[in-house]
């Protein structure tokens, strides 16, 4: 197996809650509580889950937008989470990021050319002014924007075009890994397709590794190689795309898949409607974190926390059901097609 370009080991981020008379710490939000995964060169790993599950926090922690509580981030064999600001700076180049909202993530007072030139200058990638111009033009070409776009302001562009500018900026540092945090969620259906296709093309052309953070399972299925499902700060299942969608091995994944509305009227599918809301990450449930909503929970789930372990090659799941014989395990077998009404 080749060495992964990005590795995350037992990542934890607990945000302190301050309150009380002296403003002391009264508790923690366990946003990310022990997450590990790795991404290989040219691979897309998707991180899916509902709001508040910690998926965006993982992305921000990798970028070191804040300090970690615990754990390691290893980029190309080098640990980067404990680096100081100045040692990290040249390495930051290797991580690109695209955020959700293309309206708030571009500086309205900078022309597109300057937005793209800034990272090139910062990382000292251009030899001279002519080289800088050439690189900016190349970036515009890469994201299929006209070259004269450089002389215009962000407000002159539509949402989809702005997201192209954000992608070009993420590529400016010649990164190895791109983190897309809900990069297509705010876009309209037809524009979404354009950006999804662009991201796939870029990945093929540049051999990028991608961490695709999203809540949209249909898009994820379309563009990813592997999927990691998060619930309340933990990964509950990781598997290659086909295995995950054909035979989910965690009750939460199964429920997520069955909840996605499919554009097929009258589709006969098994519906699993979860009751209740996601518990608070300030006070996560004891035992398995999903047991309060799990349709299959039994006594053990309320006491022991299941660990992520391999159920078959490359397919990891954190669920006690897999200790039971197959006849008593509702997740045995391939139920994916029945849940998502696939013909």
């Amino acid at each position: 197996m080749s060495t992964p370009i990005l590795e995350v080991n037992d990542l934890k981020k607990h945000f302190p809650i301050r309150g009380g008379f002296f403003g002391g710490v009264t508790g923690y939000v366990y946003a990310v509580d022990g997450v590990s995964f790795s991404i290989e060169k040219g691979e897309t790993l998707s991180l899916v889950g509902e709001s508040g599950c910690g998926k965006s926090t993982v992305g921000k922690a990798i970028l070191k937008l804040f300090d970690l509580t615990d754990g390691q981030v290893v980029l190309d064999g080098q640990r980067i989470d404990d680096m100081g600001y100045s040692t990290l700076r040249p390495i930051r180049r290797r991580l690109g990021v695209v955020f959700q909202d293309p309206f708030s993530s571009l500086n309205p007072r900078m022309k597109v050319r300057d937005i793209l030139a800034e990272p090139i200058r910062n990382f000292g990638l251009a030899k001279d002014g002519a080289d800088l111009d050439r690189r900016v033009e190349e970036l515009l070409d890469r994201v299929r924007l006209p070259r004269d776009a450089g002389n215009r302001w962000p407000h002159e562009f539509s949402g989809g075009q702005r997201q192209r500018i954000c992608i070009a900026r993420a590529l400016a540092g010649e990164p190895d890994v791109i983190i897309c945090d809900e990069a297509v969620s705010a876009l309209d259906v037809s524009v979404k397709a354009q950006i999804v296709n662009l991201l796939q093309d870029l990945q093929r052309e540049l051999g990028l590794a991608m961490l695709f953070i999203s809540h949209d399972l249909a898009i994820v299925e379309h563009m990813t190689h592997r999927v990691a499902v998060m619930y309340l700060g933990k990964i509950v299942e990781v598997a290659p795309k086909k295995q995950l969608f054909a035979a989910p091995k965690h009750p939460y994944t199964e429920a997520l898949l069955s909840a996605v509305p499919v554009p097929e009227p009258g589709a006969a599918r098994e519906r699993i409607i979860l009751t209740g809301d996601v518990p608070s990450p300030i006070n996560p449930p004891k035992g398995c974190r999903f047991h309060t909503r799990c349709p299959y929970a039994f006594d053990r789930c309320r006491q022991d926390e299941p660990v992520l372990r391999q159920t078959e090659a490359g397919h990891w799941s954190a669920c006690h059901l897999h200790d039971k014989p197959d006849a008593e395990n509702p997740l045995a077998g391939a139920r994916g097609a029945a849940i998502i009404a696939h013909h």
Partner: protein, 329 residues
Amino acid sequence: MALLEVENLQTHFRAADGINRAVDGLNFHVNARETVAIVGESGCGKSVTAMSILRLIPEPPGKIAGAIRFDGRDLLTLSDREMRAIRGNEISMIFQEPMTSLNPVLTVGKQIGETLRLHQGMSSNQAEARAVEMLKLVGIPEPERRVREYPHQLSGGMRQRVMIAIALACNPKLLIADEPTTALDVTIQAQILDLMRDLKNTVGAAIVIITHDLGVVAEVAERVIVMYAGRKVEEAAVEKLFRNPRHPYTQGLLGSMPKLGSSLSGEETRLQEIPGLVPSLKRKIDGCVFASRCSYATDLCRTISPALEEKAEGHIAACHYAIKEAVAA
């Protein structure tokens, strides 16, 4: 007679640089107890249509023309007082953002009770008792306690349930839901859609659901209206529309959506793109509104606007080239 008939609705907004024709000549009807979906991308005029029906468009800068007949009365000719008696009573609305559409300083009980006191002349006590009933109906646990809580004490899904409770409190004949599940997580969305389906049967209201999500449309609607750039481009029963879309825009929309389960069939297809952008609504468009993005467009499309035509039984599309089947007269 249909419950709601919208005839040549034109909602225009005066802006500094021209007139924005947000809705430009829209016709549709909704029968009693029917669920109709209006789909389209942002800026196609679907929300403005909903706001126009309830006359929530500020005039000026907005201007609503045409006719909106509800139960035989033209809503556009009613006085403000008459209109107030209809809003929240006979026609009610659920908005997208449950966070911003509830009043943060009133308990949910007060907010549900408000419509009841106003429209049905209930006393505070009666209204509160009915509020508890409504909360129970929309599946909120411990309604007696929740009724005294404030919106910030509830989760997003619960707030949307409260919004639905408010909308249904007076047993409306028509419920307009503008992107009711867009702001919610997928497992919560499934709960809310399920609830809406159940309630439709118990309350018996007609529903107009406005959404950009074709998956949601397939789950709840009986008939679908596809809007583009302020106009209706296609209308059909839900199975017909999904199985046999006639308008190139609808075809493009369906093609640009990845299907869940695509990896199971092993075929890795590229998503279909609709090139270009929605045209500016400030310019008067001669010809077909979709011509600038349509791969089949010809000179005919760019000069003459196609009329809405019945292409198959109960299947209307505005396209010169859409396949037409013999329709029994």
